[in-house]
Each structure stands twice: as C-alpha cells, then as structure tokens.
C-alpha cells in the first residue's frame, strides 16, 4: 500500500481527492471506531465523529490555519475525534472521568481556534442536515436566492409564474427550514452551551 506524507494528505483533503480520503479511512478509522465503542458509543457514532473530524480539518485548511509543528496528521485527527466525542459525551451527560483513552491525542492542540471551528462546524452541520431534508425544489430555490441570482432569473429557472410567487415560496421554504432547526433538540443543546 502506498504511504502518503502529511502534506499529500492535507492537499488531498483540500482537493477532495477520493484516493486520499480512502487512504485516511483505511488507515485511521478503525482506531476511532475502537475508541468510540470503548467509550459508550456505537458504529454510527464512530462514523459521524470520523466524518465530522475530516470536515473540521478541511475547514481549518480552508482558513489556512493548519500547520503541524508538534504533531502529525494522525495525531491531529485523533485529537479532533477525541474532542468531538468528549463533547458528545458531555451532551449525553455521561461522565468523562472513566474515559478509556485509546487514541494517541495531544492536549495542546485544543486551542481556542480549534474549539471555535468545531462549534461552528456543529451549528453549520445541523443547518445543512435540515437543509437536506427540504424538498429538492425548496433546496434549489434557497440556493439560488443565497447566491444572489435575480428574482426574474430564479422564477424562470424554477418554472414559476412570476417573481412575486418565487419570493413568497422562498419565505415559506426558509420558514420551514428555520422551524425544523429550532425544533431540533441538538439546536437547543447548542443554544444551552452558548449561554
């Protein structure tokens, strides 16, 4: 099996390179899976944690805020996964004290910026999850609006009879999305943590 350097891995994540993503999955997922399962999680939790850790790293890369001085990609990935799982345990009111730490993590990686990115990712992930539950029509409409496509154009693309209808429909879609987000218990927990 080819061994990729940290630089190649980071570049691969930025480019969404399938080979690199497969490599990361094959190399490291089982360790995260083992850690989560040892600490009161299941297969699904492990998948979520792994997936979100990759997204957090991608966000950091996009912000040009990821340099491994004292760590490696593996160390960073494990540290992010561990932090994400600790947050989950906290939300589930499970004590951290009895944590079975099988991941080689580094405490000093938990800087303010990482925590900020993780929290942002948590909120945005939730919004995106609910956005995905909207009808394709609503999703497309909102995307066009957010991309500042002119109303006339939107009405034409979506096949609506006029701009006014497009605007009303957009409010309805957005209202539905916001209602779903607010009803989500995860969102309530996020708000509780913020206050």
């Amino acid at each position: 099996m080819i061994v990729y350097s940290d630089a190649q891995i980071l570049k691969g994540i930025l480019r969404h390179d399938n080979l690199i993503l497969q490599y990361i999955y094959k190399q490291y997922y089982y360790k995260i899976n083992y850690f989560v399962k040892k600490n009161q999680g299941n297969e699904e939790d492990a998948s979520d944690i792994f997936q979100e850790a990759i997204i957090v790293i991608y966000r950091k890369l996009k912000e040009n805020d990821l340099i491994f001085e004292k760590s490696s990609f593996a160390g960073y990935l494990f540290s992010v996964c561990r932090f994400l799982w600790l947050k989950q345990l906290e939300k589930r009111r499970i004590e951290r004290e009895r944590l079975n730490d099988s991941l080689p993590f580094q405490e000093d990686l938990y800087d303010d910026n990482l925590i900020e990115v993780i929290e942002k990712n948590e909120r945005y992930g939730l919004y995106q999850k609910h956005f995905g539950t909207l009808s394709t029509d609503c999703q497309k409409l909102l995307q066009l609006f957010f991309e500042k496509v002119p109303l006339k154009e939107i009405a034409k693309v979506m096949g609506y009879k006029g701009e006014k209808y497009a605007k009303t429909r957009k409010y309805k879609c957005k209202e539905l999305l916001i209602r779903r987000i607010k009803q989500d218990t995860e969102f309530k927990k996020i708000l509780e943590n913020d206050t």
Binding site: M1, K26, N33, Y34, S47, Y127, Y171, E175, I181
Partner: protein
C-alpha cells in the same frame, strides 16, 4: 416614639368605634395635626387586625395536624423549624390588655404585623411550593379528611388559581409569535426595509437579544447553505465509508495470515490492527469459513459428479435424436415416431402450461436460505434476518424501511429484501433491488442476484431481457449455467 399615655383610652375607644360624635370629631381633628398620634392609631389598628387573624392561626394549626397525620417529614419540617428559635421564650398564658401590648414595643404581635405586611402571602405560597410534589401525590388521601371544616384548605392546597394562571402564562408564551417574521428579517438582511420600518427594526435590534439571535441564525443559515464544498465532502466521505473496507492491510496479507505464512513486522502490524479493528476480524473469520467450505472436498466432488451425470444425460438425449447413416431407413421410421412423440409431448406440455412463464419461473425459483456469514454487518441485520428466516417477507421489507439510510444501501439487505419482494410477487421492485446488488460490483451475492433477476424477467414475460440475462449467466460458466440453459430451452418453446 413613646405614646402619650393620655391618649390610650381615646385611641382604644376610637379604634373600637365607641367615641361619641363630638369626641370623635375632636379626636379626628387632633389626628390630622398630630403625626405621632396618627402612627399610634395606625399601629393599634394593625395590632388589632393581627390579633384578630384567628382564621390564619387556625388554618396553620390544622395544617400541622394534617401533615402529622400523613407523616410527611423532610421539607415540611423545615418550614415549621422556623419556630424552633422561639422555644426559649416563655409562653404567655394570661390574657393581655391592649395597653400591656403597646407597652411592649418589640412585642410578638408587632413582629407579626411587620412580617405580615412584608411577606405574609409569600410565606404561605412558599410553603405550598415546597410541598407541591408531596401534596400532589397525597391529594387523594385528602378526601377522607373533613375538608369542609377547613375553609379554603382545599383551594390552598390545590392552589388552582396559581396552577391555572401558570398554565395560562405558558400558553400565552407559546402562542405569542416572534415579533418579526422570516420575511421581515429577510427584508432587513437584503436591505429592503426603508424609513420608519427600518428605524423600528434597528431600534428593536439594539434592545432585543432574541431578535439578534434570530438575525444571526439567518446569516449563518445562508452561509451554511452556500457551503457546497463541505456538503459534497461530507457526502464523499460518507460514501467511502459505505463502500470501502476499513482495514489497512492488503488482501494478500490477510490470506497469508490465515495460512500462517505471515511473519515479522507485517505480522505484528496485522495483529495490532486486529486487536482494535472488528471489521478486519470479521473479514478474516469470513475468509476462514470460505476456506473451510472449499476444503470440504468430498462435498465438492459429489457436486461435480452430479453435474457430470446431468451433462451426460443431456448429451445422450441429443445423440439419440441424430440418426446414423447406416441405419437410415430403419431409423427414419424410429425418428419419425420419436419426433411425433416429442412434438406431441411438447404440445401436451404447452397445453398443460408446464412450460408457461409462470411454471418455468416456479420450477426454477426457490427462495435462498439466509447466509449471515456472507455479511460483515451482522449486528444490524439481526432483526431482518429473523424475519427472513421466519418467512415473514412483509416484515423484512418493513424493517428495512426503518433502518438508517446508510444501512439501507447495504448489499446484503438489498439482496434479501429483493428475495422478499420476489416471494411477494413484486417482481419489478425485486428487479430494482437485485440490480443494486449487482451494481455494487463487489460482493458474494451477484451471481445469485443475476439468476433471480432473470427469473423475474421470465415471470414478467420480458423476453428480451430474460434472454440477455440468461445468456450472460451461461457465458459466465457459474453455478447457475445449467439451470439458465434449461430455462432458455423452455422459454424457446413458450416465448414465441
């Protein structure tokens, strides 16, 4: 604020409304001018009122009795513990005149009046708040008490008004719509608000935290929806996790490990991974089982012999139909008779429906047994497996619907749900699910899925697809080759 002793009698009479009209008028004139006197009169009235609060005293006593009867300890005790500090005081048994009371400036009635003024109601409510839970539980027991003897007790315990009011407040809070609608917030964000509307909004924004949060949510929502790259990456990672194996060792290493050929660093790496990687452990176990199965040479030989015997019988039948040149005349007669017999036979078979699509399908379709060892995600499939083994195909499909989306694409699930659909005669749905298994491209169900799919096409009388599928099976030279040939032969007669 020492009271003027001369006024005591007057004050007493005035408070009890026993002064004659003239004295009363004079006293009231004095009262208007003399602030001290006014205070004295006020104090006197309050003391009277406090002393005359017999109903409250009675109620408290009776409540004590009720609580003693119900043996409620703990928080209730705490409330009455307030009185423990007063145990050092000597009880006054003799009757006191109002005059004596006034002389005791810091007397208990004054303390009571003060407390009563400040927080009489709160004290009562606090008491019931502490007891709310216990009293709710014991509320049925109150039926046995002489509630009618305790005026207001039931209401006080139930505090219906407070409960109702609290409920109303909750409803009001629920029913009150946010001050600004999604539309208005959107208009503000898109800079479409103008004039007084804009001013009002901005004024509200400066003071209203909730509106600020709402605005933040709208902004973040917009940004998150625009994050197409993140959404795509998440989907991509998710897909990889569904389709890829989650171990880093190569297939060759796994095979070598099973055969005991692996050594050195590679072996120790694999063993380390094996300790934490359950998927790898399952894969190794699966491969071991397959090896054991292949190793059953006696069964394999028997199967080969059976196939050989079958092929031989088919070849003999064909040979018998081809006449040899030396016995041509004689055999013409035999052949003619044989042809007639065969034609008659085929005709009767066609009439009896033996080679109809339905019969062909039914003769060749037999529902497979559940084989969990072919699956890695055994845990998730446990329930589906049980339903399938019981032959409850409707349940299999219902359970599949309930599984998380990620699992629904599992090829094992797709295969067995396709078989369930097949059994339930939902052939088109079954074809779609068999196709998913085949399209997955890397599993042990593909050959079976192709075979069963071809039978579905036969059942649906889709000649072209059935033929294509069956020919492909024959060409693959797999386990179903002979069966596929047989079906092809049959449909040749029936599908004209």
């Amino acid at each position: 604020m020492t009271p003027n002793v001369n006024y005591f009698e007057l004050i007493e009479d005035y408070c009890q409304d026993q002064l004659d009209a003239t004295t009363k008028a004079e006293f009231e004139a004095e009262l208007e001018q003399d602030a001290k006197l006014r205070n004295e009169v006020k104090l006197r009235k309050e003391i009277q009122s406090a002393i005359s609060e017999l109903d409250v005293t009675n109620l408290r006593e009776k409540l004590e009795n009720v609580i003693t009867q119900h043996q409620i300890a703990g928080p209730l005790q705490d409330t009455f513990d307030l009185f423990t500090d007063f145990t050092d005081f000597q009880e006054i048994n003799e009757e006191l005149s109002a005059e004596d009371l006034i002389n005791f400036y810091d007397s208990m009635p004054k303390v009571h009046v003060y407390q009563h003024e400040v927080a009489s109601n709160e004290t009562i409510h606090r008491f019931y708040k502490e007891q709310e839970i216990e009293l709710e539980e014991d509320i049925n027991g109150l039926d046995d008490l002489e509630v009618e003897d305790l005026p207001g007790l039931e209401d006080a315990i139930l505090e219906k008004d407070i409960i109702d009011f609290r409920q109303t407040l909750k409803q009001v809070a629920k029913s009150v719509e946010p001050q600004y609608t999604v539309k208005e917030i959107d208009e503000f964000l898109n800079e479409e608000l103008e004039g007084s509307e804009l001013e009002d909004f901005e004024r509200e924004l400066a003071q209203n935290n909730e509106l600020n949060n709402e605005l933040l949510l709208h902004k973040e929502l917009e940004k998150s929806v625009k994050e197409r790259d993140i959404i795509d990456l998440r989907n991509q990672v998710s897909q990889i996790m569904e389709t890829e194996t989650s171990w880093k060792v190569s297939e060759q290493d796994i095979e070598d490990f099973i055969e005991g050929k692996l050594e050195g660093e590679v072996l120790s790496d694999l063993e380390t991974e094996l300790f934490e990687n359950q998927d790898l452990a399952a894969e190794i176990e699966l491969r071991r089982q397959i090896n054991e199965f292949i190793g059953e040479s006696d069964i394999m030989e028997l199967r080969e012999e059976l196939n050989a015997a079958k092929e031989f019988s088919e070849v003999s039948t064909v040979r018998k139909l081809i006449p040899s040149a030396s016995k041509r005349i004689y055999q013409y007669i035999r052949t003619g008779a044989a042809v007639i017999v065969i034609v008659l036979g085929i005709a009767s078979l066609l009439n009896s429906g033996y080679v109809s699509h339905d019969k062909t399908h039914d003769n060749f379709f037999s529902s497979p047994q559940w084989a969990p060892e072919r699956s890695v995600n055994v845990d998730h499939l446990q329930q589906v497996k049980l339903a399938f083994m019981k032959g409850d195909h409707n349940m299999v499909l219902a359970l599949k619907e309930d599984l998380p989306k990620g699992l629904q694409n599992d090829f094992v699930l797709n295969f067995y749900s396709a078989v369930s659909m097949h059994n339930l005669e939902k052939y088109s749905d079954a074809i779609a699910n068999y196709s998913k298994v085949i399209d997955n491209g890397d599993n042990m169900y593909i050959e079976e899925a192709e075979w069963y799919r071809s039978l579905c096409y036969v059942k649906l009388n889709d000649k072209v697809k059935a033929k294509q599928e069956l020919l492909a099976i024959v060409n693959k030279n797999g386990d179903y080759k002979h069966d596929a040939k047989a079906v092809l032969r049959r449909i040749k007669f029936s599908m004209k």
